[in-house]
């Protein structure tokens, strides 16, 4: 999920953000509803490959996406294998992985600006119950952008601890990281107001 927008010319890239989101959601839903059998697993995998191959995203991108969620796949597979046996383990893991990588297509092939515009439009129906759609859309997009920054902050805190000879412990990690993250959010809020966001 960390992998952000990659410029390109695939069919996914050319599809407008709104219809693309709907289509991807439908595919993900159908993958989730596949039967928990060997055939179901094979179908899920085939759909995922097709979603990358046919519109021209390429298999290497699929590989990168799978690599990004490798730990999630490993943990799911192991747990299910121990408790549910091989067929259900393989079927469930394949369906989950397929759903993740297909879902990633939206973020991969949609620029943040297009996503922001589509979200603002898509959230319009929620306006009647007082949802500030511009704010919600911005929040979602900014969250994506902040992931690499937060990852870097976390790395800095960990390194500072190691430099002082401390063992890395969650307790001594959480406090400085939280403070840094909150301070960052505070400055970001200032910067957003300064750039004309109400």
């Amino acid at each position: 999920m960390l992998s952000l927008y990659r410029p390109g010319h695939s069919l996914w890239h050319r599809l407008p953000a709104g219809p693309k989101t709907t289509l991807v959601t439908l595919i993900v839903l159908s993958v989730c509803l596949l039967p928990v059998t060997w055939t179901g697993a094979a179908t899920a995998a085939a759909i995922a490959v097709a979603c990358y191959l046919i519109p021209g995203m390429g298999l290497s991108e699929l590989g990168r996406q799978l690599f990004a969620v490798r730990w999630l796949i490993a943990v799911t597979a192991l747990g299910q294998f121990l408790f549910l046996g091989p067929e259900r383990a393989v079927a469930n893991t394949t369906r989950i992985s397929a759903a993740l990588v297909i879902g990633a297509l939206i973020v991969l092939s949609t620029s943040a600006t297009a996503l922001l515009n589509a979200l603002e439009r898509g959230l319009k129906p929620l306006q009647w119950c007082g949802v500030d759609r511009q704010r919600v859309a911005l929040l979602l997009v900014v969250t994506f952008t902040m992931v690499p920054v937060l990852a870097r902050l976390a790395g800095e805190v960990r390194q500072a601890q190691q430099a002082r000879g401390g063992r890395v412990s969650l307790r001594y990690f959480a406090t400085p990281f939280l403070i840094l993250a909150l301070k960052h959010a505070d400055s970001l809020g200032d910067a957003l107001s300064a750039r004309g966001v109400r």
């Binding site: 952000l4 927008y5 410029p7 620029s111 943040a112 600006t113 997009v141 900014v142 994506f144 952008t145 690499p148 920054v149 870097r152 960052h184 400055s187 970001l188 200032d190 910067a191 957003l192 107001s193 300064a194 750039r195 004309g196 966001v197 109400r198």
Partner: protein, 234 residues
């Protein structure tokens, strides 16, 4: 001279800002007419609070503030359209995942035709030498490039006043020069620059010395820097 040039950039009359029980700024009075103004002073003296007050990001507890003739507390929307703010940490100012999108983001809230927004974005990227980086992910940029982007995102709105709070603090000497040149470069915009770099302060038209929450001297940068250095010695 245009009409706006007759208004002082910043005017304050008996302004105080309190956090909890302490006065961070107290009884500040000033009238700053120059195009470029440097603000210098020790750590914790209240420079950033002064800058935030002018940028409409902090409120005065008493006194009156006028920025380009506007009251930042009441005419915030009008102030935002004319005043841009740049901070030290570029990471906290970059919002979008790619360079061009981040610059364009500054124009989102402006009611301009889309073609005009694109034109202004491209012109700003060009002016700041960022055209080649337009599609690069923002988090891959170097610190200097990030700060250049932050500055570009401020200037694309064509502000009348740019407030910069230690914009060169995290940069090496070369990038610091580059950013300072871009910021102070002749133009119609005015600049309020908070800095610990005394050479940089000397490049402004006037300087303000803040000490323990109040303005203790205003004048030509040479004299103000000297006064500050004497203060630091004793």
């Amino acid at each position: 001279m245009s009409a706006s040039a007759r208004v002082d950039t910043i005017q304050m009359d008996d302004v105080s800002v309190r956090f909890a029980d302490t006065d961070v700024l107290r009884n500040v009075c000033c009238s700053l007419p120059a195009r470029t103004t440097a603000v210098i002073g020790e750590n914790g003296s209240g420079k950033s609070t002064f800058a935030r007050l002018i940028g409409g990001l902090a409120r005065a507890d008493s006194g009156t503030v006028r920025v380009l003739g506007l009251d930042p507390a009441r005419e915030t929307a009008a102030l935002r359209r004319r005043v841009a703010v740049v901070f030290s940490n570029p990471d906290a100012q970059i919002v979008m995942p790619t360079v061009a999108e981040d610059v364009a983001f500054s124009l989102r809230s402006e009611k301009l035709p889309r073609a005009e927004k694109t034109r202004r974005t491209q012109a700003a990227l060009e002016r700041f030498g960022l055209t080649a980086l337009a599609d690069r992910p923002t988090h891959d940029l170097s610190g200097g490039q990030k700060q250049l982007l932050a500055l570009c995102g401020a200037f694309v709105r064509e502000p009348d006043l740019v407030i910069a709070d230690e914009p060169t603090a995290f940069l090496d000497a070369r990038n610091a020069r580059l950013i300072a040149d871009r910021l102070l470069k002749n133009g119609s915009h005015r600049v309020l620059l908070v800095t610990h770099d005394l050479d940089l302060a000397q490049r402004c038209d006037q300087a303000v010395l803040i000490s323990q929450g109040t303005i203790t001297a205003v004048g030509a940068p040479g004299g103000i820097v000297k006064a500050y250095q004497e203060l630091l010695v004793c």
